[in-house]
């Protein structure tokens, strides 16, 4: 049965005990996605709304050209009947959700001026051919292992297209200003990521993911401010010593909770039931290594043209890099287990889930492959059972020793 946005909000904006007060802003934005009041206000001011169909698109360029970048990747959850009737059944849930927003009848239909579509994912590239009929589109070629020179040329091509779209010439100063603004946003997010290294982290994985999910959905300046405030609140929790655990999280977070990393196919709002179920099973998600996080995790020295430097998208880089990135992030965050999400229709992930699991096991990190149907909807009881077993495994001292 088709579900509305409000249904999803009910079961996903969980009443997490001890949720940080500064999460309010992000919860509000999440409730308004994909076309948030910030985006509508920007459109009213004459800024072009540029939809990004992947986290690898350099948002700095859109800002520099005076556009409003709006990431449209979404999880299946909204009423997708239009997309269902048009797209193949085996189509990945993310592409279906994007189509549901952008096709006639969707909440973003007619509101987006242009789309940037990276071609690494075949579902999205194919969707671009359908969406061409509704708005101007740009294909960002993200050929795996392409040289920096090729990627730079591709970046320039995107910039010229954006200049033409917005009618604004981008000077070096303007580009620097945009890159600085984005760097501030990343720095604010990094503070939250850093706080998650604490044992236990001062924030649940679901909340931290919500922060990342609202990036590029609202005004970047406001988001950075809210993120900084949240970062300060989390730092204060940690500074307060162990008593914050009981006083502020009301027992929702514990020191002995197994720490988990999410990898594989992305989890997108509002289809976060698996993440909620995982944390309900008694562990805490401390990091994500999938494309949902976009370029937020980029370090300051990365180039604008390093499209996929921040995460290891299976469509754009090899298994060796994916495994390295996952292992190093798992070690950095001190995780005991990795949940490898494998959504039906995401063929690249389908191919590498087992190899990624093998690489993680080799590094002494336990894994679980979570196979989800194309629409991302799994039976709640199945999920609960799977996660309970996995968390038991992670908590078991014999398994840890092995």
């Amino acid at each position: 049965m088709a579900r509305t946005n409000s249904d999803n909000r009910d079961d996903l904006s969980l009443q997490i005990p001890g949720r940080p007060e500064e999460m309010d802003y992000f919860l509000r934005v999440a409730g308004q996605m994909p076309i948030t009041p910030d985006a509508l206000a920007a459109a009213k001011e004459g800024r072009k709304l540029v939809g990004l169909l992947c986290g690898s698109v350099p948002e700095e360029l859109v800002f520099a050209a005076g556009g409003f970048p709006l990431r449209l990747c979404a999880g299946r959850g909204a009423d997708a009947s239009v997309a269902d009737s048009l797209l193949p059944q085996s189509c990945c849930g993310v592409a279906q959700a994007i189509a549901a927003h952008l096709l006639p009848g969707g909440d973003a239909y007619g509101k987006i001026d242009a789309l940037v579509i990276p071609t690494a994912c075949e579902w999205k590239a194919g969707l671009g051919n359908i969406l061409d009929a509704y708005c101007s589109t740009f294909r960002l070629n993200d050929t795996a292992n392409a040289s920096t020179a090729v990627r730079q040329l591709e970046t320039r091509r995107l910039l010229s297209w954006l200049e033409k779209l917005t009618g604004r010439r981008v000077s070096a100063d303007r580009l620097k200003w945009a890159a600085d603004a984005i760097r501030s946003a990343r720095a604010a997010f990094r503070r939250i990521r850093e706080s998650q290294k604490n044992i236990p982290p001062p924030i649940t994985g679901l909340d931290a993911m919500l922060v990342a999910a609202t990036y590029l959905r609202c005004d970047a300046g406001r988001w950075t401010e809210a993120c900084s405030r949240l970062g300060r609140e989390l730092q204060n929790r940690i500074k307060n010593g162990p008593e914050w655990l009981e006083n502020e999280t009301l027992g929702g977070l514990r020191r002995d909770m197994p720490r988990v990393l999410l990898a594989g196919s992305p989890f997108f709002w509002p289809n976060w039931r698996p993440v909620a179920a995982l944390e309900r099973a008694g562990c805490v998600v401390v990091a994500e290594d999938h494309c949902g996080i976009g370029r937020l995790a980029l370090s300051d020295h990365e180039l604008i043209c390093d499209f996929n430097a921040a995460h290891s998208c299976a469509s754009a880089c090899g298994i060796a890099r994916t495994a390295d990135s996952c292992v190093s992030l798992a070690r950095e965050m001190g995780v005991q287990g990795v949940v490898i999400h494998q959504i039906a229709g995401c063929h690249a992930q389908g191919f590498r889930a087992k190899r990624l699991a093998a690489a993680m096991e080799k590094a002494g990190i336990q894994t679980m492959i979570l196979k989800a149907p194309a629409d991302g909807r799994m039976k709640q009881s199945d999920m609960d059972n799977l996660f309970r077993k996995f968390v038991e495994q992670l908590s078991s001292p014999t398994v840890e020793a092995s």
């Binding site: 085996s90 071609t119 075949e122 392409a146 091509r157």
Partner: protein, 410 residues
Amino acid sequence: MSNCLRQLSRHPEIGDTNTTNNLKAESSASADYPGRPSAMRLFDAASADRIFTRTTGAERTTVGIYCNIVPPELIHSAGFKKMELCALGKSDDGTDCANSGTCPVVTDSLACLLDDSCGMAAKLDLIVIPTTCGCKGEIAEVLEGLCRIHVMRVPSEREPEHLRDFWRGEVLNLFRRLQELRGGAISRRRLADSIRLHLDCAEIGRKLMRLNPARSCLRGSDRMRAIGTFTRIPPEKWLEAAGRLLTEAEEMRPGGEITGPRLLLLGSPHHNDRWELPRSIEDAGAIIVADDLCSGSAALPDPGCPDDASVDGMLDALADRSLMTSRCPCLSPNTNRLSRLRCLIEIYRADGVIYCAAKGCAAHQMESVAIQRHLSAAHKPLLRIESGDPDSPVKIKAFVKILKISGMGT
């Protein structure tokens, strides 16, 4: 006996006792209409051959290729034998490495290459894998270490000049790799001769395409079979056989004009069951006037036309040809695919289109949606089916019946 070996035993050139019987069975299934050209025999044999070994012709280095975007002229100029690897066998083993919903063209061949008892991987001197789709990019990683792999990174767009340059670089890299494998340079003359030979093949292919299946003794499915086996037969041999077929088809005329809705066949390559679909369309009473499948008529490369006779000039021409004329929906935006579709409908006076997308092929699945929208605007009926769907023959019959009721093909 493993599935791969079972198929191996059916190889027409291996000559065991089962082979001839199996070949007869395959041939009889297709030789079911009167006046079928006898020159189809070689193509029947090649199409029955799902798996290739170096048991015969072992003196030649064999290069496995995964996609038609690899210029065959290069492999031939190096003196190597090419071998199409898509869907080598038919097995579920490949799904061990992938999702069950992954493209069968890839998983089947992977199963065969990973099957130790078959020893296929060891028999190939090089496997060229163009990353036209995500699955092919992944199999390159799975096969790494098992055999010599050469990955060609395919850009996903053809218009931007820097991407064309990038692709030219990839073709040059392949050329160098082949020279390395050969242990010596490929001369300008060898390359030019190979291009000329492939030009001749393309010319014959065009002539076969021009035959009107309604007035010819060569049915559309057989034409597809003849052209589609180009990837399995050495070009010299193919040219000779196709020439004989053309002469025979031109000389023999059926008694009257065959009637039935004129259909265009599009979609994913059909490898394991590639002849079942066209046959079921013709059995339903329709005529396949043309197809645009890379396992069918698009298996024959368009001619490469070098601007100059230098090796660099020829390589650039081959690179441009393979990228610019590729029908693969992995290239996006694919507007020239739609204009080509318009041309095909007009030239072949097609009454309708059947689009068969492989289960798990995201690019074709999504393209079928774009094509459906395009055709509905042009008021041309389309039937979308999925490979492996057991209801396909029923759907095809119903579609053809509707077209007949609408007065098409009478």
